[in-house]
């Protein structure tokens, strides 16, 4: 009976990575089960809210016409906020509003349920509300999964259980234990507003959406945090990401969110919106330093579980790399099942193929980006400085004015900024 297995492949986790993998495998005629601890599937899942790119095209050429997307992102806004000031770069790109589109706002509980359903329609079996304990490992080889103490055999397992993967932790498959330095804590609220109000307030036509990202500067105790706001069809996704490592004692993580929400700039944007749902989730900082082994005998790791998400402060993308890594893993696993070789050596083809995609290439190319992005002085010193300086530059009081450079020098001196240190910090831009 040892060789009998119900499934060729177990996919653990019904997020974008896991469901894409299951969908691809089912399309290939592989006997696959997709297991999620949420019931309905996807109900544990959260993200800021934009799906960039078209990695799903491999599975369905016109996926966005069928998927529960909210709005097509046509504009992007990146800004700085301090306690009483705000500054915003605001881009509109008309071509983003037409096919092939570059990104869509999504609400993950809805979107992920749809994606899992597509996997099911392709032939995958879905198990909802089932928490897998860990991988079944014998002599360094993954034989299947362990659930509620029982073993279930398979030829391969795809680990897709997201950020801070319990499966990898419980199976002892991390290179080093995760630390609070590896993640941001994302705190998010969905706020409902009528469709017409959203379009009027944000200057959008029907179906069009916008994406805001802010540096939260000048927070006490050098807290490193950012804020976001995305428009959905009839709601806004508002949230912060907080570098847990920098969260001081005495300040609650949700206070940072509430502070952001009460910022005068944000307050105007969310006026009259009704609180609908509060969520918190880890966001991996991503990158090579926290990446677990991507494959081993009988298993591969995809999506956030493998820290395959990317951010350089200008673009943030976790959903895209999740889908792409799920598909790349499924391609290799499907081939492995067909030829009957799920050894580590064969499955290493997954890592090789990821390197040829943007998913791993970006993480390699931007391996030092944190030196700039997470430099606390950007948040504590330079952001307030830029806002204070520009306020003085723009204020007209019918008095003699200073030249820009003189004013800049004065203000730098007043803010106590060491210009050599500032120049070194600024040179970190090369990591972007």
């Amino acid at each position: 009976m040892e060789d009998v297995s119900d499934y060729d492949v177990y996919v653990i986790g019904g997020g974008p990575a896991g469901s894409s993998a299951a969908w691809y495998l089912a399309d290939q005629g592989i006997n696959v089960a997709l297991i999620d601890r949420g019931k309905p599937i996807g109900s544990k899942n959260v993200s800021g809210g934009v799906l960039w790119g078209h990695d799903l095209k491999v599975l369905d050429e016109e996926w966005w016409k069928k998927a529960p997307i909210e709005r097509a992102i046509i504009s992007k806004k990146i800004g700085l906020l301090t306690e009483d000031k705000a500054m915003l770069f605001d881009w509109d790109f008309e071509e983003w509003g037409h096919e092939p589109y570059v990104g869509f706002s999504i609400l993950r509980a809805k979107f992920d349920r749809w994606l899992a359903k597509r996997a099911q329609e392709a032939g995958a079996d879905i198990y909802e509300g089932i928490a897998v304990d860990k991988l079944w490992i014998e002599k360094g080889e993954v034989k299947g999964i362990v659930q509620a103490g029982d073993k279930f055999k398979s030829k391969a397992v795809i680990v897709a259980d997201g950020a801070n993967s319990r499966i990898l932790i419980n199976s002892g498959l991390l290179t080093k234990p995760f630390s609070q330095n590896d993640f941001y804590l994302g705190i998010k609220e969905v706020l409902t507003l009528p469709e017409e109000t959203i379009e009027e307030r944000f200057g959008l036509n029907s179906e069009e959406g916008t994406a805001f990202e802010f540096i939260l500067g000048g927070l006490p105790k050098n807290i490193v945090a950012g804020g976001f706001l995305y428009t959905n069809k009839r709601s806004l996704s508002l949230g912060v990401v907080v570098d847990l490592d920098t969260l001081p004692l005495g300040i609650h993580s949700y206070d940072v969110f509430e502070y952001y929400k009460q910022h005068p700039k944000i307050k105007r944007l969310i006026k009259d919106a009704k609180e609908e749902e509060y969520a918190a989730h880890f966001v991996p900082k991503g990158g090579l330093h926290m990446m677990p082994p991507l494959f081993g005998n009988g298993y591969v790791v995809v999506g956030d579980a493998a820290a395959l998400c990317f951010s350089n402060g200008l673009v943030i993308n976790g959903n895209g790399p999740a889908i792409r890594s799920g598909i790349e893993a499924a391609k290799v696993v499907s081939e492995a099942i067909k030829i009957g070789d799920t050894s580590s050596k064969f499955l290493s083809k997954y890592a090789t193929s990821l390197k040829s995609t943007y998913v791993l290439e970006n993480l390699i190319r931007f391996k030092n980006v944190e030196k700039f992005k997470d430099n606390p002085r950007i948040y504590s010193t330079y952001t307030p400085f830029i806002l204070n300086f520009s306020e003085k530059l723009l204020r007209e009081e019918n008095k003699p004015r200073e030249h820009l450079v003189k004013l800049l020098k004065q203000e730098l001196k007043e803010a106590g900024i060491n210009s050599i240190k500032a120049a070194i910090d600024l040179s970190g831009v090369r990591y972007l």
Binding site: K44, N45, V46, E83, L244, D255, V256, Y278
Partner: protein
Amino acid sequence: MSETQHKLFTLKFDIKNKLGNDTFETDAEERAHITIKPEICRDCPHKKCLYACPTRCYNLIDGEVKFQYEDCVECGTCFLVCDQGSVSWSNPQGSFGIKYQLG
């Protein structure tokens, strides 16, 4: 302006008021998916869990750290900020716990 006057310190905000908007399926048998070891917490020099948890599941009651699992959204924060080895973390059984309608 002194740092302690920052608005972050003056927020009188109770996260618990918000959690009523969320959907939870609570384990009737009250099997907590997270447990802590009070004797370790007692000597913890920072008790960061009290501040980091985004749903305030950790509270100081009569000087002791108490954990209540009912409002937990399973983010994993406490597991990572606890460097004293007090927090045992597992996923809730079956489909219990947070159930996001929007996500």
